[in-house]
Amino acid sequence: MRASLEVDLAGLRLRNPTILASGILGSSLSLLKRVEEAGAGAAATKTITADPREGYPNPVFVDLGFGYLNAMGLPNPGVEEFSRLIAEARRLLKIPVIASVGGGGGEEFLLVAERVLEAGCDAIELNLSCPHVSGYGLEVGSDPELASRIAGSVKSISSKPVFAKISIHQSELGVVEKVIGSGVDGITAINTIRAMAIDVDSMKPILSNIYGGLSGRCIRPIALAVVYRIHGEFPDIPIIGVGGVEDWKSALEFILAGASAVGIGSEIARKDLKIFSETVQGLEEFLAERGFRSITELRGYAHKI
């Protein structure tokens, strides 16, 4: 008997626990389709704002050798256009489509959430944590009261599961407690970490925006600790673990720490889209070899010590 990788994520049924992380390829219908074909269990869209955003000028991305720095500036065509994309994605894709909702304040979050729900998204992820777009993300999410008000108001209009995406630039547990209190169905942890790079030869910051977000394998130990702590405190809350997943082992680290599913993002830069099928296959083989029936048996296993 083959081991099952199916997971239930706050009511969403995923064929396997790998999810395309928000901001990665997720503003193109055809790329979302390709990610499904590559084996992902679900896909998050790029964060959607009410109005179109151009994003920042180049350079917006740095490969540091151990991870990545980006400051795209939340480029997206705005909720109008993006809703069409979501509606089409819903027709074209079998896997759940998670709409990443952004905003400069409670009203924008609510407006965007309303529209993407109408468009048929399967879940909402509130981006409370982008660390490098002024007025958005973290600047909203690091105020626990505001964060929970936003979460509560979106939850109140949503029949679909709502996830709150958090960062470490805040008392994580504090924010998590607040947003759980306001009714969200799950937590996505973590977003990128505020960071920068300076080129010493030119003596200048590299990113046009100066600050960006650090991602990739180098943040995995940090993300894992967040997931482990949240699962320890709130064992019933579904968690999407994100940060440096690069293969089945790193995906499994998150699941053992307490994640129900994992987001895969910037390591696609090294591994390309085969990262999904390779991760899935590696997990299947591990389960079979160790005699587990289902990946769900391993959720939070590292806590049993």
């Binding site: 180049n58 991305f61 490969d63 030119s202 590299i206 910037s266």
Partner: protein
């Protein structure tokens, strides 16, 4: 660590709005023709450029002035200037051996094809290049290609030689000569025409495409070819000519 530093050793004005930069890098790179680099000008910008040649730590770029960053380069980058690049990025041209190959290039599309011509020659191919320009003032690299292969030049508003587009010249050449593979780089409409005419005759084509490049490594989605789900920066920039025809069809369908 993140960028490779280079020092410009030589700048040549090739034509109206077109310059060539010979760059010595702090370490060797091994690009394949068709691959590109992201060239960073600190606090100015970062743009994709095709390798026009590469030999150890010496590389060549051809820069057409179109806007902010290319304008800065034309005005401010001279001998001794430092530049920074990351790459090689993307997938280049298939390097066949011992075949009859035709290159069809327009404008700064000559850059990767010059590099390719060199490599194909080294692999014992018979190479012919068709170079297309708008006007005489914009024409360049005739001699450089001439040293490597047979050359046909098409100038739309030319005063001498073949008057017309590279596609017109291609049509004439294909009537008389046969090729086993065609490579093209230039305006997208031109490459679509080249692909159509060659594929109709059963000749495989490879073309180097352009889209807005941001991350350059295939994760941001900026450079996607809709609705094919192909990323210029990673799945390309070189694609099979058939891909271009599908793109064109979709465009036509969409426009209706």
């Amino acid at each position: 660590m993140t960028y490779i530093r280079g020092v410009v050793e030589e700048v040549r004005k090739l034509a109206e709005g077109i310059r060539e930069y010979l760059v010595k890098l702090e370490r060797e790179v091994s690009p394949v023709p068709g691959q590109f680099a992201m060239l960073w000008m600190p606090r100015v910008g970062e743009i994709p450029l095709s390798f026009a040649d590469a030999d150890g730590s010496r590389t060549r770029f051809i820069v057409a002035r179109v806007g902010r960053v290319t304008g800065f380069i034309h005005e401010r980058i001279g001998e001794g200037s430092r530049i920074y690049l990351r790459g090689p990025l993307g997938r280049g041209f298939t390097q066949v051996s011992g075949r009859r190959c035709l290159l069809v290039a327009g404008g700064y599309g000559l850059a990767p094809l010059y590099f390719l011509a060199k490599r194909l020659r080294g692999r014992g191919c018979h190479v012919k290049a068709l170079l297309g320009f708008k006007s005489d003032r914009e024409a360049f690299y005739r001699e450089e290609f001439g040293e490597l292969c047979e050359v046909g030049v098409a100038v739309e508003e030319g005063s001498a030689g073949f008057r017309g587009t590279a596609v017109d010249l291609l049509e004439k050449v294909l009537e008389r000569e046969s090729f086993e593979r065609v490579y093209t780089c230039g305006k997208e409409e031109m490459m679509i025409e080249v692909s159509r005419r060659c594929l109709d005759r059963g000749i495989p084509v490879e073309a180097s495409l352009e889209r807005y490049i941001r991350c350059g490594v295939g994760i941001c989605g900026s450079c996607v070819l809709e609705p094919l789900g192909l990323r210029v920066c990673r799945d390309g920039p070189v694609f099979d000519g058939a891909i271009l025809l599908r793109l064109d069809e979709e465009r036509v369908c969409h426009d209706r």
